[in-house]
Assembly symmetry: C2
Homo-oligomer: 669 residues x 2
Amino acid sequence: MAVATQSLEEICINSIRFLAIDAVEKAKSGHPGLPMGAAPMAYVLWNQFMRYNPKNPSWFNRDRFVLSAGHGCMLQYAMLYLTGYDSVTIDDIKQFRQWESKTPGHPENFMTEGVEVTTGPLGQGIANGVGLAIAEAHLAAKFNQPDAKIVDHYTYAILGDGCNMEGVSGEACSLAGHLGLGKLIALYDDNHISIDGHTDLAFTEDVGKRFEAYGWHVITVDNPNLDRDTSLQALTDAIEEAKKVTDKPSMIKVRTIIGYGSPNKKDTHGVHGAALGESEVEATRKNMGWEYEPFVVPDDALKHFRKAVERGASYEAEWNQTFATYKTKYPTEAAEFERITSGTLPEGWEKVLPTYSPDKGTATRKHSQATLNALAPVLPELIGGSADLAPSNLTLLKVSGDFQKGQYSNRNLRFGVREHGMGAICNGIALHGSGLIPYGATFLIFTDYMRAAIRLSALSQAGAIWVMTHDSIALGEDGPTHQPVETIASLRAIPNLLVIRPADGNETSGGYKVAIENRNRPTLLAFTRQNVPNLAGTSIEGVAKGGYIVSDSDGTPDLILIATGSELHLCTEAAEKLRAEGKKVRVVSLVCWELFAEQDAAYQESVLPTGVTKRLAVEAGSTFGWSKYVGTEGGTIGIDRFGVSAPGGLAMEKFGFTVDNVVAKAKAL
Amino acid sequence: MAVATQSLEEICINSIRFLAIDAVEKAKSGHPGLPMGAAPMAYVLWNQFMRYNPKNPSWFNRDRFVLSAGHGCMLQYAMLYLTGYDSVTIDDIKQFRQWESKTPGHPENFMTEGVEVTTGPLGQGIANGVGLAIAEAHLAAKFNQPDAKIVDHYTYAILGDGCNMEGVSGEACSLAGHLGLGKLIALYDDNHISIDGHTDLAFTEDVGKRFEAYGWHVITVDNPNLDRDTSLQALTDAIEEAKKVTDKPSMIKVRTIIGYGSPNKKDTHGVHGAALGESEVEATRKNMGWEYEPFVVPDDALKHFRKAVERGASYEAEWNQTFATYKTKYPTEAAEFERITSGTLPEGWEKVLPTYSPDKGTATRKHSQATLNALAPVLPELIGGSADLAPSNLTLLKVSGDFQKGQYSNRNLRFGVREHGMGAICNGIALHGSGLIPYGATFLIFTDYMRAAIRLSALSQAGAIWVMTHDSIALGEDGPTHQPVETIASLRAIPNLLVIRPADGNETSGGYKVAIENRNRPTLLAFTRQNVPNLAGTSIEGVAKGGYIVSDSDGTPDLILIATGSELHLCTEAAEKLRAEGKKVRVVSLVCWELFAEQDAAYQESVLPTGVTKRLAVEAGSTFGWSKYVGTEGGTIGIDRFGVSAPGGLAMEKFGFTVDNVVAKAKAL
C-alpha cells in the first residue's frame, strides 16, 4: 500500500507512528510499540474532540490530556509537534531522550509545555486524571452560572495494561466512579502485551467488568488498526457516547495491536521498550508504504494537523468572550476566579494564622485542625481531606460540606482508605494549574503507601500539602505497624520536598505558612497525636528559616541541644536544668532541614557555630542522617529499631525521651 | 435475653465479643467494633472448619488464618485463648496493648505464636494470604503423591472495607484469581462502616462484582447477627460451597453490623476504634443478657471451644501418619521435604556461588542472573519473580517454567505490574514457615510502590529477598521518574533490612550469600543496569562484613575513598592515580551499612580508623546519611537533586561520577 493510495487520515496516523519509530531509532532507546498501536485513538482524540490551544498551552479551559502509559511519550511529543505547539519542534523530537531536551524519556510537565502531569511510574497518570477531573468539577460548581459556563472541559487519559494492574489506578478509579466524574474519559490501550510478554502470563481479569463494578460507563472498541478500510468511526462514536454519559466516568476499551505496522515485531513484547532496529524500521516502512525519510511528515498531514492552531485560537477566543460576559455580570465572582486561577494568594491571608504564648498546649494535630480552619475561610482554594482518618487527622474544614456527586462545590474530600490514590489525585489537583491548593492526610507511617505519589509531587513541582499525623512512637498502643521510626528520615531524603515537624502551635502556623506559600514544591507536615506544650521562643518566622535558636545562654554555648517536633520541649526543659548547673546551653529547633540548608552560610553558622561540637540531637525517630548536624563528637537520642505497642507516654519513656535522659546524655558529652 | 436462654453457640459467640469489649475497655484503647460484628464468622470458621493444633501452632499442615483487618486483633487473641493456645492466656488478654505483651495493638507474628503474619496496615493481610496460598499450592504440587497428600491446607482471611479499598489487595487478588488459587477463602466483613463514617462517603463500588471480574468465586451471606434465631447455617453453607470450588479463590461477603450488641454505638464509626466506655459496656451487657464479670468466659463455652485441642491433636496425628507413610514410600522426597520445611540449607550450597578475577566485567544485574541461576538447582526452595520486568531484572530461573494455574510446581512467579502486591505476597510465602525463600524484583525506584511491604518484611522477620535493578541515574534515558536518587538512603533507614549494593561479580555472590543465610530478615540487593568491571580485592567474605578494605597503601592512609556498587571502580582507579602521585590511599567498599555496623568496634576501626578524617564517599545517590562515615572533614560525591533523561554514561559524567572528579575532590580534601 503506497502512500498515494492512503487516505489523509491514514497518512496522519502513520505520521504519528513514524515520528515515534524514527525518534526511538535515533535515540536507540525508548518505547515505539505504544505509539504505533495507539496512534489512531490519539489522532481521533486530538483531531476531533480535544479542545486546546497549541499557542497557549496553559489556556485555562483546555481539555486536559494525560498519557498515563508514560513510556509511550513519543505519542504525546508527536501530537504536540504535529498540532503546532512551540514547545516541541522537529529538532526537539530528534533530541528524544537526550540531556535536557524537551523530549525526555517520560513526559515531564516541568520540561515540556503542553504536558500536564509527569507520568511513567504506572497508574499515576490515570489517578492524576481523577484529580484533574475533581478540580474541574469543583471549579465548575463554584464558578459557573446558568448563563456563563467558564469552567467546562474534559479530562482524557490513555492508559495501558500496566496502569490497570497497579493498585493506585484501582484506588483512584473506584473513587472516580463513586464521585460520578462524568467528564473523565479514559481510553484503555488494550494491547494484551506487557514487558514480560502476553498479558495471559499474569493479567487475565475482566477489566471492563471491574470498571463497571467501580461505577464506570464502559465501552469496547475493536481494533481500529486492522486494515486500511477499517473506519475510525467506532472510536469517534465511542468518545461521543462517553461524552453523553455525564454522571459516570467512561472507559473506552480499545483493542489494539502493539507495534502495529512492524511486520516482525508487532504484537510482541519485543516492540514494547526497545528500538525496532534498522532493518525492521525499513521493513515497517515498506509494510506501511511509507516513502518518507526519517522525521519527515508529509505536507498534507502536517497542514491537516496544524488546523488545531486555528481551532485552538477560536476555542480560546470563544471562551474569552464567555469570560468577558461573566465578568460583566458577575464581577465579584470573576475577580475571585482571576485571583485563584492566577495563583495569587489574597492580601493578608497569613494574618489569620494563630499564634500562641507559652502554655500547656495541645497536640499539634489539633493546632493543625485550628490552622486549617482558620485558613479555610480566607483561602477558598484550599481543598482536601483524609484517607479515611478524618477524625484522627482532624482535617475536616468546618466551613464546607463533603465533596460528593452533585455536591462538587464542597471542599472536604473523602478519599477512603486509599492513600496512594489520594496522593496522585492531590497531584492532579495541584497540576490542574488553577490555583487550587490540595491537601491529603493520613498517619505519617502510611506515607509508605503513597511514597511514589509524594516523590512525584516533588519531581513535578506540585504544591500539594501532605498532612501527616501520629508522627512517632508516642502514638502508643497501635504499635510498630503504625509507629513511624525511619519515616521522617526517608522523607527528608526526597529532593524538593519540604519536611516540617512542628513543635507547637506557633510552629504549626509557621509550617502552614511555608506550605501555602510554596506553590511549586510540596510540603509534608508531621504532627503529634499527643499533647505538647506551647513554648517560649518558637515562631512562624523561625520555621521559615528551617532552623533557629529557641532559647540560649549568654556567650558561646558549651552545648547545643537540637530537636524537632514533640522533643523540642524536652530540650528546653533540659536546658533549664543544665543552666541551673552553670552550663551554657543553646536550644535549636531544626524544624525543616531543607529550608535550613537553603539559608546562607552566615545564618547557619549563627545558629550552629562550627566551633561548638558538643551537640545533642533529640528526635523520636531514626538517627539516620543526624550525623550531618551533630558531627563526630555529638550524640543523638533517637530510635533505631521498630517501636512497640504500649501507651505512648510509657513508650517515650522507655525509649529515653525524658528530660532527665536528655540532661544525662548532654552531660555525658 | 438472659444467658440461660441462649444457645451454646450464642454463648460462645458472645464470649468472643465480651473478651474484646473488656480487653479494649481495660486498655482504654483498641477496636471493639470488628470483633463484635465478626464473632459469628470467626466462631464458625475456627470451630467447624479450620484445622489447627493449639498445642503446636507451627504444625506444618495447619490451615493458615490471616486477620487482614488487623485492628480487630482482639478477635484473633480471643480465638487463640478460647481454643487453647498457650501463647495467649487470660492474663495476656488483660494485658492487651501493654508494653511487650503477647497481645499488641495489631497482630504481630513475632510476638504471638499462632499469629501467622503481621497485619494492621490495611490490605497487606489478604495479600499475604495470597502468598500463603501460593506456598501451599507450590509445595503440594511438588511433594504430594497420589497416595500421600502431605501438603493440604486452606488459607482463610478475614478482611474489611479498608482492606478492599487499598490498591495492594486489588493487585494481589487479581493475581490470585488469575492463578486460580482455590484453597484461598476470604471472608469479607462487610459492615459498611469505616473510620470516617458510613462507606457511602467514599466506597460504593460493587465489591462482589469486582472480585468476580478478578476471577473469584463470590458468595453473599446475609447478616448472621440479626437476631438470636438466625442460624449460622448460612455461614457454614458458604464456607462449604467455597471449599467445593477448587479452581478459583472464594470471597464470602458477609453483611455484618459493626459493634453488634452495643445498643447505642452499633452500626456507627464510634465503635470502630475506641473503647465503648463504662456505661455502654454495661448497656451492652444488659442488651446481650451477659451476666458475667469482665474477662470471665462461661465454663460451658470454654469447654466447647477447647475441644479444638483434642481435634488439633487428632489432625496432627493423622497427618503424622500420612507423613510416616510418605516417608516409607518416598524416602528421597521425604528427606527433601524435611530439609526444606525445617529451614535447613543443603550442605555446601554456597559452593555454587560464582567468583571472579579482575576483568572488564558486566552489569551486576547480569551477575545477579548468573547467581540466581547457579543457586536455583541447589536451592529448590528458591521461588520468585519480577513485577513484569523479568527481561530487565533478569530474574527468570532457567531450570523452571512459570508458576501458573495447574503448573504450581514451577518456580518463576509472574507478578504482573503489581509491585506492592508482589511485596506482600513474598512476605506471605516467607511466613508460610515452610522454608521457601521468596524473591521479588522490580526497578529500584519502584520500591516506592512497595515500601509498606518491604517495611513489613523487616518488621515481621520475613526472609524475603528484594532484587532491585537499575539502581542509579546510570540507567539513563528513562529519566528522573525511573532514576533512584534518594532510594538507597531511604531503604537504609528501615530497621532490620539489609541493603546491599554490590560493586561487581564477587560482591553479587556475597550479597546473595547474605540474603540466603538471613532467613529472619529481608535483604535488598541493588544492581546496576550498566556494565562495571570485576575488581581486584572484592570478595564474598568482605560483603558479609558490610564494609572492608578493597585496596590499600602501606601504613596509615592519608585518605580513604569509600564507595558502594558501581562507584567502587571509580575509587580504585582514582586511588591508583593518587598513589602514583605519592599519596597513601585506602579504598573501602561499604557495601552493606547494616552489616558493617554490626561488626565489633575493633574491626570497624581497622577499616575506618578514627584518626583518618580525610574521607571521600562516592555513591550515585543522595548524600543523605553519609556524614556518619565521612564526618565533618570529609566530602561526598553524590546526587542531591532529581536525575535527568539522557544516556546513562553522559548522566554519570555530568553528575561528577568520573575518575578525574574523584581525584580532584580527593585532592581538594
